[in-house]
Every structure is written in C-alpha cells, then in structure tokens.
C-alpha cells in the first residue's frame, strides 16, 4: 500500500506549496474546501468504510462542532480553539452514545437511527431560540488573530485545513496497518465470525463511531470559523451527511486516499458550476445537486469500489507482481 502514501505525499505537498505560488483567493478557497470536505469524508469513512457503520447522520457531529465554537465565542467570548475541544468532547460523547445504543442495528436500521439523531439536533438547534438563536442561525464575528481564528488572508486557512487533512489521513492509515485495523476489518467483513473468534466487535464499532464523530466535529468547528455563519438547516441537514458519504464513496470506501480524491472531484465540480451559473442561487444549487444525485446513483452501481479502488484494481491487473 505504499502507492497510497506516495499519492498522499504528492497531494498534500502540492497543497502545502500552493499558497506560495497561487495568490488567487478563489483558487485558494477551492483548495481550503477540498481539504476540509476531504477530511470530513474521512470522518465518515472511518465509521462507514473501515467499521462498516454506514451513517447518514454525520452532519449531527459537524453541527455540534460548529455550534459549540460559535456559541462559546459569541456568548462568552471564548476562543474557537477551546470551542473546538468542547465540540470534540460533545461529539465523542454523542458518538459513544449513538454507537453504543444503536449497536445491534444493522443495514437500513442503523441508517434510520443516525438520520433521526441528526434530525433531533436540528429541531433543538432551530427551535431553542433563547440559546441558539433558533432558525436565524449564528453569525461568527471576525476577530483578528491566531487565538481567535480570524485571518485577513487565506494562506493560514490552507495550512490549518492541511494539518487537519494530514491528521485525518494518518488516522486512516493507522486503521489499515495496526492490529486494531485488522480487527475492524474482520468485524466489517463478517461480524458474527469475528465475534465467534473473540473479537470485541461491539466496542470496536462504538470506538470507530466515536473517533469518526470527533473528526467530523473538528471539521464543523473549522468550517464555521472559516465561513463565519452557522445555519441550523445547513449544518444538521441530511444533504450534508450525504455529501460526506458521497465524497468517500466516489473516491473509494475504506481507502485512505479515496475521500480526498472524491473531495477533489465534487468540490471542483461545485466551484466550477458556481462560477458558471454564479448569481442565480436556486439554479446553481439545483443543477449542482442534480449532477451530485445522478453521480451517486451511477458510482454505486458501476464503480462501487470508487476511484481509488478502481484505479488500484486496474494497476494490479496491469502489473500482477504488485503487492496488493
């Protein structure tokens, strides 16, 4: 699997060098979003790909992270870094609870439980006016400085998102090569057999969901600070959860580089369409999402192993001596 690391080094290296060469704010914005959505797809992939716990409620953790930092910042003037940690704590707790409680559920039942979970949070965030400002959402004030995550330039954001992306990538690689990773693979492929062999399948799945939740929460906090606004109907939406899953599925479920490849593809598509149809809000979003839905149907049908999986299979076929 060295090929994956080589790809990752090229990808992240290019991202690290980009701000030195590119000064165009539009392109840097695209790069930041590619890294961010890629990391969030990783978060989904840890649960959905490596542990086989397919969720359509991951926006719940993203939203918890976004709200934790935004609320602490606007109400008590707390640094978003502390907000980030609080968000991670909340999401890990919620992930443990969700993972533990819905542990026996498989297939569609688990998916339905995760959707319901994110919907409950959406209702609380949009109806609890006194605390969350309800459906109006929360504007995140711009306060310059590293401690308050306010930058007049895009460059620091590139490196912050890059750090997150590299960390997320390493988490996945750990899940591929460590003992823990093999145990997870065993649970994913055949849970009953794994359990019979003494693999603590229950705890592994719970742990994977919790780690995945923590990662999604970090992404949510950073996204809210970068964009500067938290809208409950966006951050807790099912569409957002699908987006995380989609990037991972297109890129290759259960592969370390896949989520980033998927993110490059869909973020570029989105940015391109935004530039082309810019201005006409509904038209742009609609066309983008039609393509996105159609792409999802086509990919799961014809290339279920995704870009990374498909490429790897082709390379292996071409050179049979390559170790898989």
């Amino acid at each position: 699997m060295r090929r994956t690391d080589l790809g990752a080094i090229v990808l992240f290296g290019a991202a690290a060098l980009a701000p030195l060469v590119v000064r165009n704010a539009f392109l840097l914005d695209a790069l930041i979003l590619i890294l961010l959505w890629g990391s969030l797809a990783v978060a989904w992939n840890v649960a959905g790909g490596y542990a086989g716990q397919v969720s359509l409620g991951h926006s719940a953790f993203f939203g918890l992270g976004a709200y934790a930092a935004a609320l602490l910042g606007t109400r008590w003037d707390v640094s978003p870094w502390i907000g980030l940690i609080v968000g991670v704590a909340l999401s890990t707790g919620a992930g443990l609870a969700l993972g533990y409680l819905s542990n026996r559920l498989r297939g569609p039942y688990f998916v339905l439980a995760t959707i319901a979970f994110s919907q409950v949070l959406l209702i609380v965030a949009s109806r609890w006016r006194a605390f969350t400002q309800g459906s109006e959402g929360i504007p995140v004030p711009f306060r310059p400085g590293v401690w308050t995550l306010g930058f007049s330039d895009k460059t620091p954001w590139v490196y912050i998102m890059l750090a997150l992306a590299v960390f997320a990538y390493l988490v996945q690689r750990y899940l591929e090569v460590s003992r823990l990773g093999y145990l997870l693979a065993a649970v994913r492929e055949d849970e009953d057999a794994a359990q019979a062999l003494g693999v603590p399948s229950r705890w592994l799945k719970v742990a994977a969901v919790a780690v995945s939740a923590a990662l999604a929460s970090v992404g949510g906090t950073l996204w809210a600070q970068y964009v500067g606004f938290v809208d409950p109907f966006y951050v807790f939406s099912v569409d957002l959860s699908v987006r995380f899953a989609l990037a991972a599925i297109i890129g290759g479920v259960g592969t370390a580089l896949g989520p980033f490849l998927g993110s490059i593809l869909i973020t570029t598509l989105e940015t391109y369409l935004r530039a082309t149809f810019g201005g006409i809000g509904a038209g742009f979003i609609g066309i983008y999402l039609i393509i996105y839905g159609t792409l999802l149907i086509l990919v799961v049908r014809f290339v279920p192993e995704g870009l990374a999986g498909g490429l790897a299979a082709r390379l292996v076929r071409r050179a049979p001596s390559t170790p898989a």
Binding site: V54, S102, A116
Partner: protein, 282 residues
C-alpha cells in the same frame, strides 16, 4: 388525527417496497412531492380539481414507478444494502433538485373552492380537504390490503417477500414482481401527494416532513408489515396531536423522533415485526 390516513398511505407504500424488495426507499418523499406538483399544475393550468387529478395520477405514478425501476432500481436489486441505500438517496437528491430547477423553491398553493369549508362533527370542526384525504387514503390503503390478501398477484408478491429463492424456483418472475411492487409503492406516494396538495404548501422539499414521519410509522409497525404500518400511523398521528396539545406544536417533532429512537433501541423489529430482523438487516 385525520392525517393518519395519509401517513398510512405513504407508510404502506414504503413498507410494501421494503417487505418485498428489502430496500428502504429514501426517495419515497420525493414521489409524494411530485404528486403535490401534479395536483398543483393540473389545478393551475387546467383548473382540474385535485380529486379529479387523483384518478389520473395513480396510473401516471404507477408508470413513473415502472420507469424508475427499470432505469435505477433493477441494476441494484441484488446489490448490498449500502449500494441500495445510496441509490435511493441519490434518486431523492436528483428528483428534489429537478423540481427546484424546473419550478423554483417558491411555496405554491392549491386553493379549490371548498378549501375553507369546514365540517362539524359534534363540537369539533374539520377541514373538508382533510376529511376527504383521510377517507380516500384509508380507502386506497384498504384496497391495497385486499389486493395483497386475495388477488393472485398479491399472493405472488407475498411469496416473493417470504423467500426470494423459493419463489424464483416456483417459476415466479421475481424481476416482474419487484417492478410491480416498486410501481405500486410509488403510486401510493403519488396519490398521497395529490391528496395533501390542498392542505399543505407545495415546494421541492415538501415530501420530507411526510416521509420522516412515514419512517417512524413503518419502524413502529415493523418494517415490511402492512397492518403494522396502518396501526403505526394511528399511533403516530395520536402522538402528534397529543404532543402538540401538551408541549406545543414547535416541539412535537422532537417527541416522535424520540419515540422513533426509543423503538429502534427497545424493539427495532417494531410492534409486530419479526424479532431479530434488525440484526440481520433484513
């Protein structure tokens, strides 16, 4: 409480598709939304009353169902759960946004002449459209029950639901059964959409509120269990009314999602479903 009929119709379609095909259709709400638009356009362009539209809408959505089955579902019917889930999710996103691009996100209303008419039963007053929606939805649900129970085709469908392999060995063309099941399920959603058009605003994500409820109903009654879905919709409608009375309309949704999660945790197979179904992901 009268909405129980509509919930039942949506939920029965959903549970039928799940029961026979083992697919959770995440796009069910979008077909309901398309039904609402069908009623809206027929009313606006040709001044067709929604109940006239209903007669044409059922075969129309049946055809739409056959078409989407052939184009989208046939290829994934034997694939894993995850592939099926994401296929219907993709279908849902695509349909929602086709509506958004074609008809914008504006709220639209169907206002037939009887729209503000009220019927009195004792001391309570009911909107006419709600009463009609309730009665017609229950009648359609009952017709579907009868079809499944007594017709030859219904028996074939139930046989396929019980054991796909055995049915196939008995000479049942399972592909045709699936196409039929899917089309009937979609027709239920389309009919429900036409029925609620005079009551609710029509917009591209209008289906979501009904389908989320339908999931609650279906899980409550046991995924795949049609009688369970009917009883489940009564319970959910009751909880909804009771909830808005006790804790206010703003929070009633929390109540039924809590109910939903509680059922998933305590008895995921539903009130009438087979125990252990959730473990197999059946």
């Amino acid at each position: 409480m009268l909405l129980a009929g509509v919930y039942a119709l949506v939920a029965v379609g959903l549970t039928l598709i799940f029961g026979v095909m083992r697919v959770v259709n995440f796009a069910q709400g979008e077909f309901l939304m398309l039904g609402m638009y069908a009623a809206f356009w027929a009313f606006t362009l040709w001044a067709f009353d929604p109940y006239v539209t209903l007669v044409g809408a059922i075969p129309l959505f049946f055809l739409v169902g056959l078409l989407t089955y052939a184009l989208v579902m046939r290829g994934v019917i034997r694939a894993s759960h995850n592939v099926q889930i994401f296929t219907t999710v993709g279908l849902s996103i695509a349909l929602q946004n086709v509506a958004l691009v074609l008809w914008t996100g504006d709220f639209r209303f169907v206002r037939p002449w009887y729209y503000s008419m009220v019927l009195h039963f004792g001391t309570t007053a009911f909107n006419v459209s709600q009463v009609v929606a309730f009665v017609v939805a229950l009648a359609l649900t009952a017709a579907l029950f009868a079809f499944m129970r007594w017709s030859y085709t219904g028996r074939v469908m139930r046989a396929t639901a019980q054991d796909r392999e055995a049915a196939s060995l008995m000479g049942i063309d399972t592909d045709r059964v699936y196409a039929l099941t899917w089309a009937i399920g979609i027709a239920c959603a389309g009919a429900a959409g036409v029925l609620v058009a005079p009551i609710y605003p029509v917009y591209p994500t209008a289906g979501l509120q009904f389908v989320l409820l339908a999931y609650v109903v279906v899980v409550l009654g046991g995924l795949g269990d049609m009688a369970g879905a009917l009883l489940g919709s009564l319970i959910v409608a009751g909880v909804e009314v009771g909830g808005s009375y006790v804790i206010g309309t703003a929070w009633k949704e929390v109540l039924y999602f809590m109910l939903f999660i509680a059922i998933l945790l305590v008895r995921p197979a539903g009130l009438f479903g087979q125990r252990g179904a959730e473990r197999l992901g059946m």
